[in-house]
């Protein structure tokens, strides 16, 4: 399992892309997707919602459990991944690519996020 170098990571197992025009993409890591098992339902925030770093903004249902989705950053949701709403298994098959969850216009600098190497060490512990 390799965590892409260009992303930053939260200890709640979300990833955040570098901002383009102030907008970043958010998803969950492969480590998290494997821990969840088959994701069957994704409840994502709505476009226009304000999200707060470290606070719940959605849910992921898997066969065995339901998990809160936390925003890794403060901002406003600009887009959600309709493909994942239609086919939640994308979260398992391509967590860093087609299984992204939402895009957020940053209202502040991301804080307390880990680099890929730090996250890899964090999940290996």
């Amino acid at each position: 399992m390799s965590n892409p170098q260009q992303l930053r990571y939260s200890k709640e197992h979300e990833w955040l892309s570098a901002a383009e025009d102030g907008v970043s993409t958010v998803g969950i890591t492969e480590h998290a997707a494997n821990a969840l098992g088959d994701v069957v339902f994704a409840q994502l925030p709505e476009v226009g919602d304000t999200v707060t770093a470290g606070e719940s903004c959605g849910e992921l249902e898997s066969t065995k459990s339901v998990s809160d989705l936390y925003s890794p950053v403060d901002g406003e949701v600009t887009e959600i991944n309709e493909d994942v709403v239609a086919d939640p298994s994308l979260v398992n098959s391509a967590p860093f690519e087609g299984g992204w969850l939402f895009k957020v216009k940053l209202s502040g600098e991301p804080e307390n996020l880990l680099s890929a190497d730090e996250y890899t060490a964090f999940t290996a512990g």
């Binding site: 709640e12 979300e14 821990a35 339902f41 066969t63 459990s65 998990s67």
Partner: protein, 391 residues
């Protein structure tokens, strides 16, 4: 991301828990296959190898291979083995023919369920009782206590057996290719000693998936050889290794209860809709058995004025009910509790089993919902099971 409602079956197992967990004879095999392991009743067991959904579908359409070595095998022998089991269990075990198996229960004096069991009559004076892993010690203790006065012996054989299961429509062909035993003549709920892939085994046509299938009780030392032979024999038929996660969704679709979810010491078999397993007309011990009086009263109550009934629920939406979630009526009043819930791969919708007030338990009852973390999601009340294979 974090688990809003952690369930023991999904807790990522730490190194610490592995040190104390019991390992099956197939532990190295599971690791080599890349299984996600989980603690289950003190055992380190495979939860899934890849996608639990794919494993579920394989069992419904082709075949799956399970390690069930955590189940608790107890052997009862002696001239009065039948009488002891008639007294200790609720079923008519004395009437069971050699080579046949029966689903039964062991109850407390007050009728509460200690465990649900499969009993195999291996010979006239020899039975194997298979208990759930979490209850094996409780059942052993109860049988040992109830043995007093009977010319019979109760033996703890938990370490004497590994248990492999092959389940699914292709299972008979796969097992038959490895044995001379007459599987065509082996009915559902029968078992016979034989040889599979050169390994001595008790071959039973039983399972917990709603499919045709076989459970093979073998010596732990033979488990790896048998697993490998079955894997090879099942390759062309599409057999895949399967973990406990899909076992749970398979049994839920088949409407089969799970101890700790649908069954407990605070419920009698009648409360669980399984009163049929209690046999008041038994030959042995002049009909006396542990729990008889309480169960007779429970039978009466279930007939006259049942408090709650075990029903199936099918979601209209996509959110999954979990054990412990309240069932509510149109006014939002609590009318029951979910005991098991999961997304059903076969139905393509979330399903659940729940105990619901009798007034709302009729299939087709309108206005029933499950309180899923504060939101009332509409559910259809249906009769169990959700899934029945075509025989």
């Amino acid at each position: 991301m974090s688990e809003a409602r952690p369930s023991p079956a999904t807790a990522p197992d730490g190194v610490a828990s592995r040190r104390s967990a019991r390992l099956t004879a197939l532990d190295a095999t599971h690791r080599a296959l890349g299984a996600t392991m989980t603690d289950f009743a003190g055992w380190d067991m495979p939860l899934r190898y890849g996608s639990e959904r794919d494993e579920h579908v394989a069992v419904r359409t082709r075949a799956g291979l399970f390690d069930l070595s955590h189940m608790g095998e107890l052997t009862v022998t002696g001239p009065q083995a039948a009488d002891l089991l008639d007294f200790a269990l609720v079923g008519n075990i004395g009437k069971l023919a050699a080579g046949r198996a029966r689903y039964t229960m062991i109850c407390q004096e007050d009728g509460g369920i200690l465990d649900d069991l499969i009993v195999y009559r291996l010979a006239d004076q020899e039975y194997m009782v298979v208990a759930n892993a979490s209850n094996a010690q409780v059942v052993l203790d109860a049988l040992t206590a109830r043995q007093a006065g009977f010319d019979a012996a109760v033996r703890d054989d938990r370490d004497a057996y590994a248990l492999l299961a092959v389940q699914g429509p292709e299972s008979a062909g796969i097992v038959q290719s490895l044995t001379d035993a007459d599987l065509d003549g082996l009915k559902y709920y029968a078992g016979l000693p034989g040889t599979v892939a050169g390994v001595s085994a008790l071959i039973a046509r039983t399972g917990y998936t709603g499919e045709d299938g076989f459970e093979l009780f073998v010596r732990p030392a033979d488990a790896v050889a048998l697993w490998e032979a079955l894997t090879e024999a099942g390759k062309d038929a599409g057999l895949v290794p399967c973990g406990l996660s899909c076992r749970d969704t398979l049994r839920l679709e088949a409407g089969m209860p799970l101890y700790g979810n649908e069954l407990s010491t605070s419920l009698t078999p009648f409360d669980a809709g399984l009163g049929r397993v209690v046999k008041f007309e038994k030959a042995g011990n002049e009909g006396r058995f542990v729990g008889r009086e309480a169960l007779a009263a429970a039978a009466e109550r279930a007939e006259q004025n049942p408090p709650r009934k075990l029903v199936g629920l099918i979601a209209e939406g996509r959110r999954v009910p979990r054990a412990g979630y309240p069932v509510v009526d149109a006014e939002g009043t609590a009318i029951g509790t979910v005991t098991s819930g999961a997304p059903s791969p076969t139905l393509g919708k979330p399903i659940a089993m729940a105990y619901v007030d009798a007034a709302h338990a009729e299939p087709g009852t309108k206005g029933v919902a499950v309180d899923i973390r504060g939101k009332h999601e509409a559910y259809e009340v249906v009769a169990l099971p959700f899934y029945k294979r075509e025989k």
